[in-house]
């Protein structure tokens, strides 16, 4: 876990409100595992916004470029989209527990709702070549965000299916529908499901996985003030049978085995 002040190498708009940013960090490139995240702050003379914001590590590019894929949803992300090459940000990471990679006999099924796509590229990068070719990725957006985003991850060689709620591209409907139909129709042998996205979506995926008795990892979100396990803010309720009442997303997660979460409380 390190704190580093880095210069932005690029910051590119990839869709309506989705941006891809990159910066160089040898240390993070060597330490980071898929599913882990960073706490980011824009360097400067202002104390507003105050709190760092959590972002998944989207992937690692040539030359130790750390990639961040983000959506402009509020103040911080809007400010981030206005930063330019050579502007400085401070990053803390890699934080949290990442995805557990599938066993050599297991197939990977990745399900991403909206910005749930963020950690999936890195996960795909980390799969062994064979597993990657056989891996399926389901992505859902409310509306099509442009081909650039999809092409990027398609470039890794996995099988990508797209859903849009408004039908502007691919399957019309939610990624959950798409996933449920596909997994019923033609599930890989011993699939491991990796899901990231809105909690309502994850809940459905987790329930489906539960019914089919499949291993399922979910990457959760929670409001984080520190990301370091010291504020005890990022609590989510553990399933009743667990020996704790709350997990802390920043240190026990953000990736959890779906069955240890209390989905009713989310």
């Amino acid at each position: 876990m390190i704190e580093e002040s880095v210069f932005i190498e690029f910051n590119r708009q990839m869709g309506n409100d989705i941006w891809l940013m990159g910066f160089r960090s040898e240390a993070l490139a060597s330490l980071a595992k898929p599913g882990q995240f960073l706490m980011i702050r824009i360097q400067g003379n202002s104390q507003d916004p105050l709190i760092r914001r959590p972002f998944s590590i989207h992937g690692i590019g040539e030359g130790n470029i750390i990639l961040i894929l983000y959506q402009t949803v509020g103040r911080f992300t809007s400010l981030l989209s206005l930063t330019r090459n050579h502007d400085q940000i401070s990053v803390i990471g890699p934080l949290g527990k990442g995805f557990r990679l599938p066993g050599s006999k297991q197939g990977a099924v990745l399900v991403a709702g909206g910005m749930g796509l963020a950690p999936m590229y890195f996960l795909a990068q980390a799969l062994p070549p064979d597993a990657r070719r056989n891996a399926k990725l389901f992505i859902g957006f409310s509306t099509f965000q442009g081909a650039g985003l999809i092409d990027l991850i398609k470039g890794l060689g996995l099988q990508v299916s797209l859903a849009t709620e408004d039908g502007s591209m691919g399957f019309t409907g939610t990624v959950t529908d798409l996933f449920e139909q596909a997994i019923d129709r033609d599930a890989p042998e011993e699939p491991v499901i990796y899901a990231c996205g809105p909690h309502a979506m994850l809940k459905k995926i987790a329930q489906k996985a539960g019914r089919l008795n499949l291993t399922c990892y979910v990457s959760l979100e929670s409001y984080m003030a520190c990301g370091l396990g010291i504020c005890l803010g990022c609590a989510i309720r553990a399933a009743r049978n667990q020996d704790t009442e709350y997990y802390y997303v920043c240190k026990d997660g953000p990736v959890f085995s779906a069955e240890i979460i209390d989905w009713e409380a989310l």
Partner: protein, 307 residues
């Protein structure tokens, strides 16, 4: 020739090598920030508030940002005093900074009992009594706003311990001087001023309070001018040392508190923003003393010029 300033201060019987203390609830159980620096370099460490029994804390969301501030309703989640002593304290054995244990109870008796549990324990240098937490309904709030109850809690703790007792006050009172004096009379060795301010935030899209607990405690730069004023008031009111805190982000902020008379300062929310903040404040204070030719930081403390 540069002098090497003496940064050490005395806070109610506990001598610390520099006046920079990590604040309760923002430094975990003392080791979480070790990847960033050796906590031994700080004056002291206050661990997360502990109760007799482990506490799960409030349902989330528990935190939200406000302008230059952080609102929290953690609900004093903690592993309980016994688990702390058994599991966490040993990890601090190599830490050269004194460990201060922050305690809170639901009754005067619980506070005394907590003090009793700590009394025999090596590796705990002082007790900080949280009579000011606004998060737990039967918790700090009740004790900290009434001078009589505040004295009782203090008295109960002081009677059960030989360790220095620091009482941490709440800002949510009409006049902090009244409580400060009451707690001093009851035997407190030092005061911490201040805990968080009551606040609230509403999500207009869902029309709900952002925090499940509705009300939270405000910390961070937003509260600095108020915390500084309360520190100034408290210093005027009592003879025992006052530890100032609230919105201290850097050594300049720390110096403001020292100037109004704080004997030491605590660093809270800043740890989240910059995990090295507390250490950088130690360095900043040392450099400031060198530049200003101050051989002893005590010469800075309380040196505010008014006329």
């Amino acid at each position: 020739m540069a002098i090497t300033p003496d940064l050490s201060v005395d806070i109610g019987g506990l001598r610390i090598k520099n006046p920079v203390i990590a604040a309760s609830g923002t430094f975990g159980y003392g080791t979480e920030l070790s990847p960033f620096y050796d906590p031994s370099l700080l004056g002291a460490i206050v661990v997360k508030g502990l109760s007799l029994q482990p506490m799960p804390g409030n349902p989330p969301p528990r935190t939200v940002e406000t302008p230059c501030g952080l609102l929290n309703s953690i609900g004093l989640a903690n592993i309980g005093i016994n688990a702390f002593i058994k599991e966490k304290l040993p990890l601090l054995a190599d830490t050269a900074a004194p460990v201060i244990v922050n305690i809170y109870g639901n009754s005067v008796g619980e506070y005394s009992e907590l003090a009793g549990r700590i009394e025999g324990v090596d590796g705990i240098s002082a007790i900080e009594v949280n009579i000011s937490c606004p998060n737990v309904e039967k918790g700090g709030m009740v004790f900290g706003t009434d001078p009589e109850t505040a004295s009782k809690v203090t008295d109960g703790v002081v009677k059960r311990t030989t360790k220095p007792v620091i009482v941490k006050l709440t800002p949510n009172v009409a006049d902090i001087a009244v409580i400060a004096k009451a707690v001093e009379s009851a035997g407190a060795g030092a005061l911490s001023v201040t805990n968080t301010f009551l606040g609230m935030s509403v999500d207009i899209a869902s029309r709900r309070p952002v925090l499940t607990n509705v009300v939270g405690g405000l910390s961070g730069p937003a509260i600095k001018p108020m915390a500084l004023y309360l520190t100034y008031r408290a210093v005027e009111a009592v003879k025992i040392p006052v530890i100032g805190l609230g919105g201290i982000m850097n050594h300049q902020d720390a110096i403001e508190f020292l100037l109004v008379g704080a004997r030491a300062i605590q660093v809270g929310t800043a740890n989240f923003i910059n995990p090295r903040a507390a250490l950088e404040i130690v360095h900043g204070l040392r450099n400031f003393c060198e530049r200003e030719n101050l051989s002893d930081i005590n010469h800075l403390i309380g040196s505010l010029i008014k006329e």
